[in-house]
Symmetry: C2
Subunit: 161 residues, 2 copies
Amino acid sequence: MIAIQDLYPDDFAHCYGCGKSNPSGHRLKSFPVGDEVVAHFTPRPHHISVPGFVYGGLIASLIDCHAMATAAAASERAAGRQHGDGPVPRFVTAALRVEYLKPTPLGPELEIRSQVTERSEKKAIVAVTVAAGGAITARAEVVAVRMPKTMGNPAGIQKTS
Amino acid sequence: MIAIQDLYPDDFAHCYGCGKSNPSGHRLKSFPVGDEVVAHFTPRPHHISVPGFVYGGLIASLIDCHAMATAAAASERAAGRQHGDGPVPRFVTAALRVEYLKPTPLGPELEIRSQVTERSEKKAIVAVTVAAGGAITARAEVVAVRMPKTMGNPAGIQKTS
């Protein structure tokens, strides 16, 4: 299955966290799974906070990109389109609220899961969890908004509902 | 003047966002200036969200590290010690709330400023702004807590008040 981020228009596929066109970035890949969106990411040894634990800024970054992908997928679904039908709209972050419930061990693959809890045409609220070894270590609520035209005007995007 | 992060004990100086011992990291440097703490950081071209704008995950990361340094400096000041007197305690993030007020242009140096709005021996709440070219583009509230002993036991740290 193609990742949601790989359906972003080429002109908007440079994101440091998840863009397919950013060779220096994290290239997070998020996939629709039932009512959720799921991603897996294994932090690298330099993504450290203090020895043994993952840097909180990386966790916030993964949550951010994953939530934008979740909002984009929900927007497509609401418009009656299936995942993979074509390019998806780009959302940007209006607010990011992360609670670090416990330190996240550095080493295991992380699982990031999300659901849209509220949405309109231009906005979505996304609930996200991050788990390491089956234990949730961070929880977040993210407000995603449709990318304003002042940030660019992507080609190939259909109107969403 | 030495940066607050460069006063973290050597065993806890690996942070991807601000550790002096992480050659792959951002190495953010925060300095006390009056009642505030100030840092400057110029994002690199690959720290992009969409063309022309800074990746929000980087902004959250800089806020995170800057807030922890702010909490550490406030803890030292409350204990009657001056900046530079010795190693400072490590705080970790309990909660991070970022509002992205407007897109942050990619190119200019960013200025990150913070103040402690509330503190106790083990916890501080830190208000942070991020500005580009004099305009504030993001605002945050961060809850910092003293690093729990389960995350390590740093040498050379005095008790804080």
